[in-house]
Symmetry: D2
Amino acid sequence: MDVIALRREFHRYPELGFREFRTAGRVVEILTSLGYAVQWGFEVMEESTRQDVPADAEIDAAYQEAAGAGVPAHVLEKMRRGLTGVVAVLRGKREGPVLAFRFDMDALPVEESRDADHLPAREEFRSQIAGRMHACAHDGHTAIGLALAHHLAGGDFAGTLKLIFQPAEEGVCGGALSLIEKGVADDVDRMFCLHLMANMQVGEVYASTRYLASAKMIAEFFGTPAHAGGAPQKGNNALLGAASALLAMHALPPYPGQETRVNVGTLTAGTAQNIIPAYALMSLETRAKSREVNDDLVRRVEQIMQGSAQMYGLRYAMRTTGEATTYEADPALVELVQEEAHLAGFKDIHACYDSSVSEDGPFFIRHVQQRGGQGSFISVGTGMEEAHHTTRFDICEEVLPLAVELLRRLAVRILR
Amino acid sequence: MDVIALRREFHRYPELGFREFRTAGRVVEILTSLGYAVQWGFEVMEESTRQDVPADAEIDAAYQEAAGAGVPAHVLEKMRRGLTGVVAVLRGKREGPVLAFRFDMDALPVEESRDADHLPAREEFRSQIAGRMHACAHDGHTAIGLALAHHLAGGDFAGTLKLIFQPAEEGVCGGALSLIEKGVADDVDRMFCLHLMANMQVGEVYASTRYLASAKMIAEFFGTPAHAGGAPQKGNNALLGAASALLAMHALPPYPGQETRVNVGTLTAGTAQNIIPAYALMSLETRAKSREVNDDLVRRVEQIMQGSAQMYGLRYAMRTTGEATTYEADPALVELVQEEAHLAGFKDIHACYDSSVSEDGPFFIRHVQQRGGQGSFISVGTGMEEAHHTTRFDICEEVLPLAVELLRRLAVRILR
Amino acid sequence: MDVIALRREFHRYPELGFREFRTAGRVVEILTSLGYAVQWGFEVMEESTRQDVPADAEIDAAYQEAAGAGVPAHVLEKMRRGLTGVVAVLRGKREGPVLAFRFDMDALPVEESRDADHLPAREEFRSQIAGRMHACAHDGHTAIGLALAHHLAGGDFAGTLKLIFQPAEEGVCGGALSLIEKGVADDVDRMFCLHLMANMQVGEVYASTRYLASAKMIAEFFGTPAHAGGAPQKGNNALLGAASALLAMHALPPYPGQETRVNVGTLTAGTAQNIIPAYALMSLETRAKSREVNDDLVRRVEQIMQGSAQMYGLRYAMRTTGEATTYEADPALVELVQEEAHLAGFKDIHACYDSSVSEDGPFFIRHVQQRGGQGSFISVGTGMEEAHHTTRFDICEEVLPLAVELLRRLAVRILR
Amino acid sequence: MDVIALRREFHRYPELGFREFRTAGRVVEILTSLGYAVQWGFEVMEESTRQDVPADAEIDAAYQEAAGAGVPAHVLEKMRRGLTGVVAVLRGKREGPVLAFRFDMDALPVEESRDADHLPAREEFRSQIAGRMHACAHDGHTAIGLALAHHLAGGDFAGTLKLIFQPAEEGVCGGALSLIEKGVADDVDRMFCLHLMANMQVGEVYASTRYLASAKMIAEFFGTPAHAGGAPQKGNNALLGAASALLAMHALPPYPGQETRVNVGTLTAGTAQNIIPAYALMSLETRAKSREVNDDLVRRVEQIMQGSAQMYGLRYAMRTTGEATTYEADPALVELVQEEAHLAGFKDIHACYDSSVSEDGPFFIRHVQQRGGQGSFISVGTGMEEAHHTTRFDICEEVLPLAVELLRRLAVRILR
């Protein structure tokens, strides 16, 4: 099984969160053919735990797209309503612990570059879907997971191997939580997540990764419309409320050592040029190194919503649409990863990377740790300079077999 | 011809600007049957003069809707691409001046009330189209125009009667200008526009109306996206730029005696919670009593765009999507309207109403005046309290025959 | 008595509100010498009614300045604490009504121009006091009042003449109210105020003047200081609160036809670059044509203070430091002023001027009207272009005898 | 020499930056009596290098205060114009390196607490000067320096001891730079600075301290005044400019890992409620871990000034009034401090403290390092909870002899 060919296949057909029907269908197909016990869809995901779920029409469109691409009906049916997770289990020949790896599968609403020096363009595996792109390496993650499944397919180990293919990591809107809530990580003793990282060299690896806690929110202002020429004083201007609020949110003070962030990512307000805007909708996020500080930011964001509503005579509403947590890697695993990374051929090996983004993988690790297990989140360099989520993001593909080898060695070591 | 029945017919099928296919089709049908020389579509409108034209798909959808409702193909074809104006001419039996009346036909994107005490609901002529409504009395204007055509159909007068049915008055985005540019007002000697007004009693009339000059604009900021957690400092935040700009625009100082207004009516910005917004689009308007002051406001709005772009490292663009001008009514016509209003049965007659909204009718009057003619814009009370553009807007229908009689008397007086 | 010479004398020594010791001393001196019954200081002013009173040290400094300039101690003593009003009464030889004129005496904190074409500089009666200037013609008003007193000194009329010389009109902080509260206008039957106006020609006069209602306020935010480097998140930033609030105040919507105004005139906040500002003080004003709309603006300003405090975790306080009201002139007086203006030699005579500034003279007129009397506020053109309150403000002095003649004729007419 | 008694003496008479005449006078007196070669005033400071120097009147007042307190004229005279630095040199009996210690002497504009549980209040050495306080432990630093001088007074060592008593550390406005520019650190081989730290325990010490780079700035907007009622549209509002600018400055994005800070610490704007504010003055600061990022923040602050000026039709000006740099401690010195701290009796010894404030001590160390020497900045815990710069700041005085012993041991070790 050629991990690079697999990555290119997934790269061609990027799918957004809770709509990874085609990708998941292919994952089910391969894992089944390798002899794994595969469950997917409603068997492995709790529907109600998801947040920020796309509209039914969008899910249906993706579903039809996958059906049209040949994903069998019996595979698709279990995933109706966007339950696109897959879990494969292989019991070894001897007793032993349960070891799980998580791989995420979703892509991003980014238009991929057509530049001649962009490898997917030059080598003709560029995204076939306008406005969607694997700009965060999840195509690579999925391919690594399948290649790992291939290497370990014989089951010649002690204990149980569990491979979790997760939808909807982007936006941390419940892809991980809906799998956890269904119980797929309840029996796991050792848990690894992995991410390929731009701005680290090929051969560079961090045995653990700290992520920022984060909250994603929708915040709304409700005012009163009025004719902007005839009676502007009768309006309560929701857009002015949003402008004051978002400036204040971005002006929240930094918390020393906490890498705090606030971003109002979108705003939509108003109906027409000649009407005082009576409605404004913002989507925003906060981040911090600690959950407590992130909670404090959320509290201050709500305080700003209240105050800005008061200033302009508005009502407001706020709700959470996603969240990410923090965890601390187990030192024993960190040491083990470093040792095996050396043997796998990595040259530049570190204990911990402090990321300034957020992930929902830590929910898996925290869950396993709370039940007595251990976990770590590994970061693997891909030797490229273009940032994640940009139109020219790419990976040096030579990292793919290297990452597979590291995970394979970890599995053999732990399941021995 | 029952002006009230006609009004109710139009009320049932409201159509938005540059999409009044069904309404215009019915206007063509009636005027033709009355013996008027009728031209419409590309015959009477200059396509390029329009601003803020709907997308082709929206125009096509309305076109198909009208075709489905039975508007004949030979009528519709001339209106393709949204050229929905109609001009009817009737030459009298003797020589005389050219007298023109303008009526507007477009509706608004407002959902009509279902309240039992809302006449159109009770009498079952409520809008049949979800989310669209004749909430500015243009249904009444169109009905008045057709009833007037009926009364004068014999042509027993001196000179020429010209009835102009205009699309797209709302948003002052070129409905009037595209007709004027095509020359339909070039030969006019006397020009009247008319508007039915809430908050004036039935029997109340103003022989002239002053409107505010206005400009409608689209303003855009272009920044740089960046990951809001990983590299926020690499972004150039278009939404912050828009927030600063719109607060500054609303804070522009009042000009004494000028009834200045600025409204940022809509804002759309950003793509996702975790991305620094790289794009923001605002639609906005300015108003003032004089064109010069309105031009000054537009200049200051652009200065704010420039400055806010500079603050946040953005580029900006601005374009005008609509405009309204001012005019001064000719005293001779004002006096004449007052006299005939008295005879027509109006009880509360005034010389001039200072409106705080904008209209594109003044473009017609200004054009006629610049060529040596005269004009005035008449405001007629409808005895209702609900404001224009609201979900419960309505008119006392008894005003309809009263308005028809006023216009009929004016025609007979001028064309004698 | 040369009204021009008197004006130049007052022009040389401008004094700010509640500190007009030297001016008032001279007024007392002249009026006493003319045989009027003169009262001043605590005899004519209620101390507690004043707002925004200068600090004791500033009042004392002005007091000492006046003492040094030779104002007699017995005159000054009654004015201690800044009670610088003067009221002169002359009973006529016959029974008749009480007629009052109000003249204001205070100057402004403006540095007077030294330009060669600025008359006071060329003719060497420029302000002798750095940073203070009669830039609003009150020097002219005071001179007119004294010249009028001179002309009528014989008392050859029916009824009573009352001349009120008022301090502290600028800032409308209680100069008028403290005289009214003491009762000086209680017996008045006819009341006139007068203002010399730039931007009107010599010979131009308005028999009445409408002013805007206004409120002057102090608004404070109280936050929490914190080290801006070490613990910025522990601060509650009063300056951010003030910035959001003042932008929102300036963005309050215009009220159609009301000439609404909001101005945050000053802001002082913070203690040092490295401390989160814990205090902010704003002084601001609102204006509108009607008292009700002005009250509504004040309510909205307070709503903004509340909301902005809530946004940033601050406390706030607000208090009024000045106010101006509106009045409607009595038509009988307006007609009478127009007639006498014609006889006095004015060429361009109007009924009413709509001013866009505020005055506390209307408090006198409203008070007299509420007790059954009549009043009007006269505006007299001075034929200059430089705006009031600017460094090059001046008047054409030929207007001075013209204004005296108008007031003299009014007195003779009313007191006959 | 009792270091605690000395500290209490300095605590009673706090003096602000470039006005430490009495403190410096006492330092000169003691050091001279101990046999050091002492230079001060213009002998050790370059006048032109200072920034944000107080007004002459303030310097003179402090000068007179010191003269009144008995500081001899010959001592004071060299310090005229606020050159209040003192440098003492003692040559040892043998050849050896030059070792320098820096101590800062200035106090803060804070009113000291009178709480009974505040030691200086209870023990009656509270600040004798209203509104000034040693709220940052510089009284302790100065006392430590003098006690150290006492211990080493015999000169029984190899090399040269140089004790630098620096004015004006607060605000990093050139206290250090003016000494360096004069050359006092040119011959130094080993350089230590020291700060007593709240929120660290007595017995806790950090052998080196990283500070944030910082810039302190004054930023001004120049607009056009106008009457806020009569002609607000003629004004160019500097206060609106400042409000928009400061919100944008506080909304500058965080730089990952850089502990970036922006604070607009003060704002003063406008002249009166009824005048459009024509001038605004802000003092502000930026901070970051690296000089490059701090420079980038300064660039963005200026970009915001430019843009906000453009928005409101203003001019702007910016100038730097202070700056702090970064340095990296020499590992050899860090190790040496740790060893001697252990011997001196410290219990909790660390290599490096990451401070989130700024200091100008790093200028000394960077200067010495650039000439081939070594340096470090030591942080010593004082076991108190009240934050620096607050009204109840204090130190556990038992730390004073402990700190003296550490420095003494370092001197003996290095100068052996």
